[in-house]
Every structure is written in structure tokens, then in C-alpha cells.
């Protein structure tokens, strides 16, 4: 196959197939779940879309009360905070990626009752 290896050693698409319509096979793992979320996306889809779809699949949601409980996607050990970033911008020639859905709890004035 006339392709390239990406940074993780995965097979990239051949040059001829690196077009605007490139699909990205995305897998998202969530620690409490028994199996991951899988979906194909076009390159112009954003991190926000993947995060929202994964959260729907895993039946979790952000909420804010006395504290903020927020979910993030993590990729290569890095939390993805730019929700507008497209998959093409993030992944380039990779045609698949594994993300983790992780939770952030921002401390407030929490006391045990």
C-alpha cells in the first residue's frame, strides 16, 4: 500500500485518497463502560461533535451546581479543549484515532453532610 505511517504507527491513507471527503474512524473509550463508542466522521467535523456523540452514547452529561462536572476528550494524553478544532486539523493524515472520555471535577466549597 502506497501510504504513510502516522505517529502511532497506524496505516495512513494512500496519498490519492487524502481528499476533502476523508473519513476518520474514531473510537472513544470511557473507563466505566464495557465497550467503546465507534463512529466514522468527515474531516470537517469538530471535536465538539465527537464529544457530544460520545457523551450521548455513554449516557453522561456535564452539569453545574455548586461545582462543575465536565467531560473532556483526551488524545495522546492531552485534553482537547478547542471544541472548534476539526478532525482534519487534529489528525491530519491519520485515518483513525482513539480518544478517551475523561471527567473533570472542579472543586467548590464542598463539605460532607
Amino acid at each position: 500500500m502506497n501510504g504513510e505511517l502516522n505517529q502511532e504507527g497506524a496505516q495512513a491513507l494512500p496519498h490519492a485518497q487524502c481528499s476533502e471527503s476523508i473519513d476518520y474512524e474514531i473510537t472513544v473509550e470511557y473507563l466505566p463502560a464495557s465497550h467503546p463508542f465507534h463512529k466514522s466522521y468527515e474531516g470537517n467535523e469538530t471535536v465538539a461533535t465527537v464529544r457530544a456523540d460520545a457523551m450521548t452514547f455513554f449516557h453522561v452529561s456535564d452539569h453545574r451546581d455548586r461545582d462543575t462536572h465536565q467531560f473532556f476528550l483526551e488524545f495522546d494524553g492531552r485534553r482537547l479543549t478547542d471544541m472548534a478544532e476539526t478532525l482534519r486539523q487534529l489528525l491530519g493524515r491519520r485515518h483513525g484515532a482513539k480518544f478517551n472520555l475523561v471527567e473533570q471535577i472542579t472543586p467548590g466549597a464542598i463539605r460532607n453532610e
Binding site: E29, Y30, L31, P32, A33, S34, H35, P36, F37, F57, F58, H59, V60, H63, D65, R66, D67, H69, F72, E74, G77, R79, N100, V102, E103, Q104, I105, P107, I110, R111, N112, E113
Partner: protein, 175 residues
Amino acid sequence: MSNPYPHISRWIVSSDCLGATLKGVQECGQGVREAGAFWLGVREEVSRIVAVVLPCGKGIQAGPGSWKVGPEVFGVITRWAKPLGLSLLAVAHTHLHGIPARLSRADREYSVQVPGVLAVVIGDGGSEEDHTKWGWYVYESEEYRNIIPEELSREIEIGSGKVEVLSADADGFWS
């Protein structure tokens, strides 16, 4: 869409797991701040805890009335557990001396909220060795249900067997 949370009717927790958890939370909390452990295993109808991960250090915020595990630590544990087919089955944490071993409002609202996950509260800063005096809860129907002592032996089996014990922070694992 497939269900990522298959039903769990019974959990098998070894005495090795209980002992490793107590030792870990005592060492990390030192009786002056809360500490905790993640219990992992293969999620299935009868789920056995096979690994105890003790978050402590960088990425964990702990005080006398709270214990918080940051997303970087969740990520570290996820990257280790998922290739092994393990899922988070329970979050155990301590309450200090004088605070009941019951889930607080904060515990209920800011812990993991998915069906079948256990929340375990160990009293007396992790010095309470009698697990029947701990608080045992399972998340179902969008809230934590207290597993009362009369139901405990039916839902939680204290078995034998070794568990893997690791400590974790935002930078990785150590034994």
C-alpha cells in the same frame, strides 16, 4: 445502539482487594485527608474486582472533606485499563473520623454516575476494617441506592483471590 453498561447482578470483592484498599487509603490519607481507590474488573453479570488503583499525588486534590481525581488521572487509568478489557466497577473513598460512612450530597453528585457502578465509603479515615460498616451504594435509576446490611451479602460476595494493586497519578503508575 448497544448498551455500554451491561447489567451487573453481583460483585465479587476479594479480601485481598479490601486489604489493599485499606492499606492504600491509610498511606495516602494519613488520617487527615480523604483518600480513595478505583476498583476495576471485567464488566459482566457477575463482576469480579481484579485490580485496585490508588490515585494519590499529582492530579488528586484531597482535603478533610473532599477527594477529587482530576481528568489527567482518569486518562492515565483509562489508557492502562482498556487494553486489558477492564472497566471501572467501583469508586471507594474515605470519610475522616467522626463523619458517617455515608455518601454525602457532593459524593452523590460529583462521582461517576453510570448504571451499576458502586460507590463505597470507608469510615474513620480508612481505619474501619469491618467492611459491613462501610457505606455501600450502587448507581441505578439515575441515583445511588444504599445497599443495606441485610442485602450486602446477597449483592456483594467477599471472595478469595489476588488483585493487582497499583498507585497512579497524572504522570503514570507505580507499584
